[in-house]
């Protein structure tokens, strides 16, 4: 293991400077997707299926095309026919055919809100009017929304091309079970049968939305020579480029994607919805085309996180050592095969040492919008079940719930569910920090209860490209290909300034477009500070080396006779001994010493480590109304090293708040007709400021030895534990064990008054 960097005295790492893009954002100058306009731009609009499942018999666009001001109309037939090809799109694997058919339906509409046709016109009003003139003939088909219903014999099958993956022998009939993932070891049934204490339960969750406040929008301009520009916000403009190019079957380099500021993503903006459609409309009209979703469209047509049905059994010996775990669950895929079940399997029970395990996850297709990544995708659902069951087990054994977790907590070298050994993880440290925190022992008031839950997320590394260049005056620009979704420009500037030992303000970080920097994976998987940060450090180190080399040549001394000292090069020998050359002095004359000073680091970052968190929640439950108030909340997390602690805390607080919303009130509500009944912020109830207390973020730092500054991903972990932490706190306050989310007042009331 490397010497821990953290022993060093850092100049910038761990400080809290103001982000470089801050002033633009507090003054309203920052340009987000819906803010962008191109000269001569047309306004697009999308016609969506009113039916949850229907065959599209015909689409007549003639009347719409004839409306004055309408310049183009597109349907699924305007997209090229593609061969099946599974692509990695940042948050998981998707078939490009599915992505295409989700952008514009072909043959069948698979959910209410599925895009069926699109128009571009000279005003938004004309575009909307034109939608009403498109005649779509549907044959309504039986639909299915529920997980078990979708797997039942005779259920309407969404795709006749889907045969369950991961079962042997391969099925000979198509079904809605898209994929089955099973991992495990030992003798689960035997161990459960001989366990001193067991618990079991069925847990259910509804789909929830990422809830970013910026709706999807883009402007596309596709010229007759095949070259195109797209302006959009996303978690990865390179993913936008590769997916759009693949859907349209055109060369990637013909598309230049300019990233606009992104108004939240949480995983939901790692894919594309609008871009290929805007491209087709632009090609047809010869003009730039803007497409933007309303909030209602965002709810009806973009990715929710899957709902779930989860069966859990846990067994322990009399001392509380876990001996067996059996977790079997179904996740909604929605209309197209999604990815969360595999992650759910990996994220269910790996935080505990258990000899006998079975974890089985199944992706289930149904007539809902296609599930998309949402912050630690696939983990919170299964964690809710497992950590609720752990709480129940602690009660049964009469063991403090934190002690039960400590007794079983996985540490470095222990096996994960896959069998791989954990690296330098910090679960035990988080549990110990939670136990030592004053919150854990603070007194509680009437009707109050305290819950705790632990959880983790694997995080990621992957490809990033960074260009560090030195201006003639010695100031530094860091250009990355990673969209900044929550302060990463500040973190990159901090890391580069740390390497170069220069003031933070001497370094400016920007997000470059796809034509200006090399390929970078999405800002997702909690990878950016780790992987793009690693590239930033590597490129800054190379710039430092170049500056030293140039200075040595300017002085006419061998390269080993100079040294980087306090942001400048010092000469150690010869006539110039004792002199220094600043970056400005070197870069200002670099045209005469070999050319401009810049370095690109393009790497595929390895050595990422998962993050672990332990959350403590106090609730107060009104026994007469079932209303739950979050009284106090503390989120402990191993963050590796906090580069900019404010934004690390912000990730933890924001993730916890989303988890609390998921626990208490957020849910997709469907009518009997298969249509979404709460497609707006009024009835899709995300927490408002008055719903929450301060959320104390406690950063435990167990550095990652594989990163130059010890970084571990932090963004996703904090949404994992809250669901069970809240449920366990409600149980502590009331004695009622709620196993169905959301734990809205009517559900809590029903649990407290079982006789009605």
């Amino acid at each position: 293991m490397n010497a821990p960097e953290q022993m060093k005295q850092f100049r910038h790492i761990g400080t809290r400077p103001i982000r470089p893009d801050g002033v633009d954002k507090v003054t309203g100058k920052a340009l987000y997707s819906p803010d962008f306009k191109a000269p001569g731009m047309l306004w697009g609009a999308i016609l969506r299926s009113p039916h949850p499942h229907a065959r599209i018999l015909s689409i007549d666009t003639k009347k719409a095309e004839a409306l004055p001001g309408v310049k183009a109309v597109a349907t699924g037939k305007d997209l090229p026919t593609l061969e099946s090809l599974v692509m990695h799109v940042g948050e998981g694997a998707s078939d490009i055919v599915d992505i295409s058919h989700n952008c514009l339906a072909l043959g069948k509409a698979l959910y209410e809100g599925h895009a069926v046709a699109a128009v571009a016109a000279t005003s938004p009003e004309i575009a909307r009017e034109a939608l009403g003139l498109i005649a779509v003939e549907y044959e309504e088909l039986p639909f299915v929304l529920g997980l078990e219903e979708a797997l039942a014999e005779g259920a309407p099958v969404l795709h006749d091309t889907v045969f369950t993956k991961g079962v042997d022998p391969k099925p000979d009939k198509p079904s809605n079970a898209a994929m089955r993932v099973e991992m495990g070891k030992g003798d689960v049934e035997g161990a459960l049968a001989s366990a001193a204490a067991t618990v079991s339960g069925r847990y259910t969750l509804e789909p929830v939305h990422q809830g970013y406040i910026e709706p999807h929008a883009c402007v596309a301009s596709w010229n007759g020579d095949g070259q195109a520009q797209i302006w959009t916000s996303s978690q990865g403009h390179f993913a936008v480029r590769s997916l759009t190019a693949s859907v349209l079957a055109i060369p990637q380099a013909d598309i230049r994607v300019t990233p606009l500021e992104i108004g939240g993503g949480f995983g939901g903006k790692t894919t594309i919805y609008l871009e290929p459609v805007a491209m087709v409309l632009s090609k047809k009209s010869g003009r730039p085309v803007r497409l933007a979703m309303t909030r209602e469209e965002v709810f009806r047509a973009t990715g929710p996180a899957p709902g779930a049905v989860i069966d859990v059994r846990l067994g322990a010996d009399a001392d509380g050592a876990l001996v067996a775990a059996d977790v079997q669950f179904l996740y909604h895929s929605g209309a197209f095969t999604a990815n969360d079940a595999g992650a759910g399997v990996s994220s269910a029970i790996g935080h505990y040492r258990i000899a006998n395990t079975r974890v089985v996850g199944t992706e289930v297709l149904c007539n809902r919008p296609a599930a998309k990544a949402y912050r630690a995708p696939g983990a919170p659902q299964v964690n809710f079940a497992v950590e609720s069951a752990m709480d129940e087990l602690a009660g049964k054994l009469g063991i403090d719930p934190l002690d039960l977790r400590l007794k079983n907590a996985a540490a470095e070298g222990d096996p994960q569910t896959s069998g791989l050994p954990w690296g330098r993880i910090g679960y035990v440290e988080c549990l110990e920090a939670a136990k030592a925190h004053p919150h854990w022992s603070a007194p509680l008031g009437a009707h109050q209860g305290r819950g705790v839950a632990g959880g983790y997320w694997g995080n990621y590394g992957g490809p990033s490209t960074v260009n560090v260049s030195v201006a003639e005056d010695g100031t530094i620009t860091v250009a990355t290909g990673s969209p900044d979704i929550g302060g990463s420009r500040a973190s990159m500037a901090i890391m580069a300034a740390e390497v170069l030992d220069v003031p933070y303000e001497q370094v400016r970080a920007v997000v470059a477009d796809t034509a200006s920097i090399g390929v970078s994976m999405v800002t997702g998987g909690s990878r950016t500070t780790f992987a793009t940060g690693m590239a930033t450090v590597q490129a800054a180190e190379e710039v430092k080396r170049l500056l030293c080399e140039r200075a040595a040549r300017m002085w006419g001394v061998p390269a080993d006779q100079v040294e980087w000292r306090s942001g400048a090069v010092a000469c150690l020998a010869g006539e110039a001994q004792g002199q220094t050359l600043s970056a400005a002095a070197i870069a200002g004359r670099s045209f005469h010493s070999g050319g401009p000073i810049a370095a690109v680091a393009a790497l595929s970052a390895q050595g990422w480590l998962p993050g672990f968190g332990v959350h403590i929640c106090d609730t107060e439950v009104d026994p007469e109304t079932g209303h739950v108030r979050i009284v106090r909340y503390t989120a402990v997390q191993d963050v590796g090293t906090a580069i900019h602690p404010d934004y690390v805390e912000g990730q933890i607080q924001g993730g916890a708040a989303q988890g609390i919303g998921w626990a208490l009130n957020e849910a997709y509500i469907y009518g009997e007709n298969g249509k979404l009944d709460n497609a707006g912020f009024l009835d899709y109830r995300m927490p408002v400021a008055s719903d929450l207390p301060m959320i104390e973020a406690v950063m435990v730092e167990v550095p990652n030895p594989a990163h130059p500054y010890g970084v571990k991903g932090v963004g996703e972990v904090p949404i994992v534990p809250p669901l069970a932490a809240v449920a366990n706190a409600i149980h502590a306050a009331t004695g009622a064990r709620l196993k169905d989310l959301p734990m809205a007042p009517d559900r809590v009331y029903a649990a407290l008054h079982p006789q009605g």
Binding site: G90, G342, S418
Partner: protein, 79 residues
């Protein structure tokens, strides 16, 4: 060399979770696995992670002469 294939790929492609192969590197392994189960190579990049002797390896050029075990497991992305 022991090749351990985890779910869902064991059943999806190979009908077994244990194989014995001698790949030069992970590119070579992908090729050998594709020969056993055509179609595997097409999904390897988007869906598969490899672990060499217990450590995830995304550099497929790394020589495997000294390695004892490669685990083929599902790639987990993030949001």
């Amino acid at each position: 060399m022991r090749i351990v294939v985890m779910a869902p790929f064991d059943k999806e492609f190979f009908g077994t979770g244990r194989l014995d192969l001698a790949p030069r590197n992970l590119f070579d392994l992908v090729g050998k696995l594709d020969a056993l189960a055509p179609g595997f190579a097409a999904i390897a990049q988007p869906r598969v992670h490899f672990a060499v002797d217990g450590v995830l390896e995304t550099d497929w050029t790394r020589p495997l002469a000294e390695a004892a075990e490669v685990i083929v497991l599902p790639r987990v992305g993030g949001g």
